[in-house]
């Protein structure tokens, strides 16, 4: 009996740690990093704080939300694939329940004037959240003429030509790579390393979440 509990305990710890973090993850992307750090470096001591920037650089480069990716990576480190899955479930389950709950709530009360009104008020702040995220990303993304050009072209094609966003993503990647191939002489712009991008983001999201 004791051996079974001992076997389960590490997984439960992973699951529960990320369950605790998940509902606090407001405000987008890198905002939840400090919270994760507090739990994983300070509390559980699973990771050293020096490892975090490199970890974030990797998880930020992978597809998907950086918070979830970080959780998966940490979980994988501790207990392999099963640990990664546990961490994933821990991060996703609380928000899953909340989102589903809200949708059900709203469809039940869809004709309630007050609920409609609250939702309308909330959509104003969601717009603000999205635009602020755009501003913050823009500060480290739009750093020279070529990037501004790409940005402007993308914006125009989105608003006026209904271009498939996925196409834009691929184009952006190709554009970026082409711009930095070795046979371009005299390139004075050195693209930011992925890790320093995280440092930029951190100064914005830092404490106070």
């Amino acid at each position: 009996m004791i051996t079974i509990t001992n076997k389960i305990k590490p997984y439960w710890n992973i699951f529960w740690s990320f369950c605790k973090i998940s509902p606090l993850a407001f405000g987008g992307g890198y905002a939840m990093i400090p919270i994760i750090e507090k739990e994983v470096v300070g509390g559980r001591k699973w990771i050293q704080s020096e490892e975090m920037p490199d970890l974030i650089a990797i998880t930020g480069s992978a597809p998907g939300a950086v918070g979830i990716n970080t959780a998966v990576m940490i979980g994988y480190r501790i207990k392999g694939i099963l640990g990664g899955i546990t961490a994933l479930l821990g991060m996703v389950l609380p928000t899953f329940i909340i989102v589903v709950g809200l949708i059900i709530f709203i469809s039940i009360f869809k004709d309630n004037v007050k609920v409609r009104a609250a939702l309308e008020g909330i959509s104003s702040s969601v717009v603000a959240l999205i635009l602020i995220a755009a501003l913050r990303t823009g500060k480290s993304a739009l750093i020279d003429k070529p990037s501004l050009l790409l940005f402007a072209a993308a914006l125009v094609s989105l608003f006026f030509f209904s271009i498939n966003p996925l196409f834009l993503i691929v184009t952006g990647i190709v554009y970026g790579i082409l711009l930095h191939t070795p046979n371009r002489k005299g390139r004075k712009h050195v693209p930011q390393s992925v890790a320093s991008h995280y440092d930029n983001m951190q100064t914005f999201f830092g404490e106070g979440i």
Binding site: G27, F96, I103, E120, G121, A133, A152, G172, Q192
Partner: protein
């Protein structure tokens, strides 16, 4: 339907580099072009996804899945969007990819960041237009716009916690519109 949901979100999940809010237009494009939801319905889901904790891209996937195919739709859509990132993370961990600082990676992300910014700006403005925050002059839209400005200042200048801003704007909504 569930299979379609799964593969669409698998595709979305695979391309979701660098910015949750940037994925919202991607998801919108997939969902509206297939006639699963219209822009108005999608905008409502984005509100719900935005006010919940967690990454907005994942939340939007869950919301779309739920709205189109019930609880199992929500599970399938979430799974679809999460599997690619899970696999990539495990692969990276296995092979410890040092190439994150290679010239190609840097270049790729340089271009990606510009696109992501455009997608986010587009998402914000588009969502604002659909929800009447930026729209024709009427008492209602003046309120919406003012609320938006207040929320923006609170978040950006005063670094108020997003949850507080959301709750306050909800209350303001009830006062102003009901």
């Amino acid at each position: 339907m569930l299979w379609k949901l799964f593969f669409v979100f698998l595709k979305v999940g695979f391309f979701s580099f660098g910015g949750g809010y940037a994925m919202v237009p991607v998801i919108e494009n997939e969902v509206v072009s297939r006639g699963w939801l219209d822009h108005q319905q999608f905008a409502e889901l984005v509100s719900v996804a935005g006010m919940s904790p967690g990454p907005i891209a994942t939340n939007t996937s869950i919301a779309v899945g739920m709205k189109t195919a019930g609880i199992w739709g929500a599970v399938i859509a979430a799974a679809g969007s999460l599997i690619p990132s899970f696999l990539v993370i495990v692969c990276i961990s296995l092979f410890f990819m040092r190439s994150k600082d290679s010239r190609y990676m840097r270049g790729a992300f340089y271009g990606l960041r510009a696109i992501i910014t455009a997608l986010m700006l587009y998402a914000g403005i588009h969502f604002g237009l659909i929800n009447g925050v930026f729209s024709s002059i009427s008492i209602h839209s003046i309120f919406s716009f003012t609320l938006f400005i207040l929320a923006f200042i609170a978040l950006f200048r005063y670094r108020m916690h997003p949850f507080a801003v959301i709750v306050l704007s909800g209350m303001a909504g009830v006062v102003l519109y009901a």
